[in-house]
Symmetry: C2
Subunit: 416 residues, 2 copies
């Protein structure tokens, strides 16, 4: 979408808070240097965040020869954020403080038969109630609840347009949730949640252009370009799993042949294993998690079949990631989601070697490939940051007139 | 790259001038509606462009019930821009007025042996001198000269880092040109020139996200995202020609197998023809232009072999373009450059059909595929717009302080 002045102002507000969360305490001067924004812009945005009580003034530092510089820090207790990760077999919910630390977790298992929207909504409402009670936060302090649901979503209307797990079509999920949850609600999908998680707390933070390659049952590439999530014109960018890697190759559930996902998604990796050794003891038919776990353990023991499967998978993945590098010239490529975290360093090493063989020299030299450094569930973290972004989105409308005329007005004396 | 406040201000300035060039005369209110910028921002940017004499006030229009609205229009004679298209066998130069109309053209042929930088520079200098003389513009009115050279360029230093046509490595092209040309010089490559040409005057103008698919001897995909050119972290984004379409497919000159370019670049199309009919009369070995022209003529006469070649090529192209649509979710895909313009509508029709079979429903529904509407050489036009963008880039530094404090100060009365 075209970026308007308001979009840009909002993106700058995210960028400044992101930097404060990453490094507190910090000064306006340091923030200007880290973000590339002017000191005047930073001062305005810091003023807005102070007014919202998301950050506080925490003292002064001496600057060589100049006036002491005011320091600000995130006010962790200034609000709580909830992230909801709805998956095929479970609902996982986490409650975060404003420094994005996890304060409480709740899990609800869903049995195979439970696929009606009301059932899923019931689990989400129960888990959200649980984390609020566990953390002991007042309802008024919850700034919002971000909800990630697989498939296609319309974030403006809160509708799950198509959820392949349960064959949902146009389910008004946020409307149903609003009957149980009084906080502001935000809807999106796991790919975009993982991508904003990397932007706020992971390997994409402070980077110009990043690609977050999500390796799970499905496969996608979240694009963080120019410091923000690239959504595309109808919020569906990132369908890398259904780009062609092998013309006329393996049949994909999307109806095409040779999609990236059929070679490097968990079922694709199982097929890579089966084609190599149809009777492998590593293969747990019908159980992706058990098979990937078995592969990971076997690789750690230098099992030759497991090593070959990882190498074969990395060969496909390396070709696909090279395409992303050649096309987008990103600063960093992040391998994320459960398949990447379980196969870990051995997969990363093979992928780096495969990419080095495939990618063009110039974009290759400018790119780093890393595993996601986020230690917890990136989907619930990302969903929570959608709620944080939502809370920040309309700030400018209320306060910008005052701020732009008096960006440097004095505040109450900070503690020192 | 991360966007700073200055980048954003510059992009907004481009956007406003682009809109004025597209539709003159126009009011600040119409500009705000068309660009999504606030009226205050538009007023500031219009003030800057008036100061630069790139636009003029041309009268007033009545607004229903309100004050008459001031109208502005591009001042075509306010400056001249020169675009230089350096290709393997020729140098083509055009001089434009500020409305981006061509005022003069000059061509220089280069013989096969002529590949030394001094020889190319000599041809460029001669052609630039010719267009200035033909158009009869004063040297002081030339705002800049944009130069497009194939391959990898460092636009900041003006160095042609690698030009495959002539095996140039790290040639300081702008430095050499500056010995002959006194105007400000800007360097980039044809892919990016074609993309900014679509942004300023073509199918990407006013669109959020656009992909410009360049079909020539080489193949690339220029990305116009969020209203601006996506360059990537080291200015090499767009190397779509070297993304894998057929794993282990045709050998490419980049060293990989199965690159898109080997199937849909002009030499790839010749190979598609040769594989179908090795002795076809349409085949002009060693002459890409003659072969593509013969194909285009034969298609117009419903020649079955030619129709099959176009269909085969469109099948590859459709798979590759579907990948771009799935990954980036653009509003428009533009087919540009000489192969696309010569094969024209028959190729476009087949590509649309192939994409409809391949792409995912949601991004497909949001995308339009069109031929470039630019009737002249898009490379020299795009190179000229680089010069225009260069002239606009540092405006804010000089005038922003004055403007932001007095965006609405009165001007000399416009003619009415
Ligand atoms: Zn698919
Ligand atoms: Zn190649």
């Amino acid at each position: 979408m075209k970026r308007t002045s308001r979009d840009i102002r909002t993106a700058n507000r995210y960028e400044v808070l992101r930097q404060i969360i990453a490094e507190s305490p910090t000064s306006r001067q340091e923030l200007a240097a880290a973000t590339g924004l002017s000191l005047a812009t930073v001062a305005t945005l810091v003023g807005e965040l102070l007014d919202l009580r998301m950050i506080t003034e925490v003292g002064f530092e001496d600057s060589a020869g100049g006036r002491p510089r005011g320091l600000v820090a995130v006010d962790a207790s200034g609000g709580a954020l909830i992230g909801v990760d709805i998956a095929e077999t479970y609902v996982h919910v986490e409650l975060f403080d404003l420094a994005l630390n996890v304060l409480a977790r709740a899990d609800e298992d869903m049995r195979p038969g439970e696929s009606r929207p009301e059932q899923v909504v019931g689990h989400v409402a129960a888990a959200v109630g649980s984390v609020v009670a566990q953390a002991g936060v007042e309802a008024a302090r919850v700034l919002g609840v971000g909800v990630s649901v697989p498939g296609q979503v319309d974030r403006d209307t809160g509708v799950a347009q198509y959820a392949p797990n349960w064959d949902w079509h146009d389910v008004p999920l946020l409307g149903l949730l609003a009957e149980h949850i009084a906080h502001p609600l935000y809807l999106d999908n796991p790919l975009r949640a993982c991508t904003v998680a990397e932007l706020w707390c992971g390997a994409a933070r402070g980077r110009g252009d990043a690609v977050v390659v999500n390796l799970g049952t499905g496969v996608g590439a979240g694009l963080a370009l120019g410091g923000g999530l690239h959504r595309g014109v109808s919020n569906s960018a990132g369908e890398w799993g259904h780009t062609t890697l092998v013309l006329d190759g393996r049949l994909c559930h999307c109806g095409n042949h040779g999609c990236v996902e059929t070679y490097v998604g968990a079922p694709g990796i199982m097929r890579n294993l089966r084609e190599l050794d149809p009777h492998s003891a590593l293969l747990h038919p019908g159980d992706q998690t058990a098979t990937i776990d078995a592969l990971a353990r076997a690789v750690a023991q230098d099992d030759p079949v497991a090593l070959k499967v990882v190498r074969d998978t990395a060969r496909y993945l390396g070709a696909g990631i090279s395409d992303l590098i050649n096309l987008l010239n990103p600063e960093v490529v992040v391998l994320s989601s459960w398949v990447a975290s379980r196969l870990g360093e051995p997969l990363l090493g093979e992928v780096r070697r495969a990419v080095a063989r495939h990618a063009l020299g110039r974009p290759l030299a400018a790119t780093e490939i890393v595993l996601s450094p986020i230690p917890t569930d990136p989907v619930s973290l990302g969903a929570a940051t959608f709620a944080l972004e939502g809370a920040l989105q309309f700030v400018g409308q209320r306060t910008s007139a005052k701020r732009t005329t008096a960006p440097a007005r004095s505040r109450t004396a900070p503690p020192s």
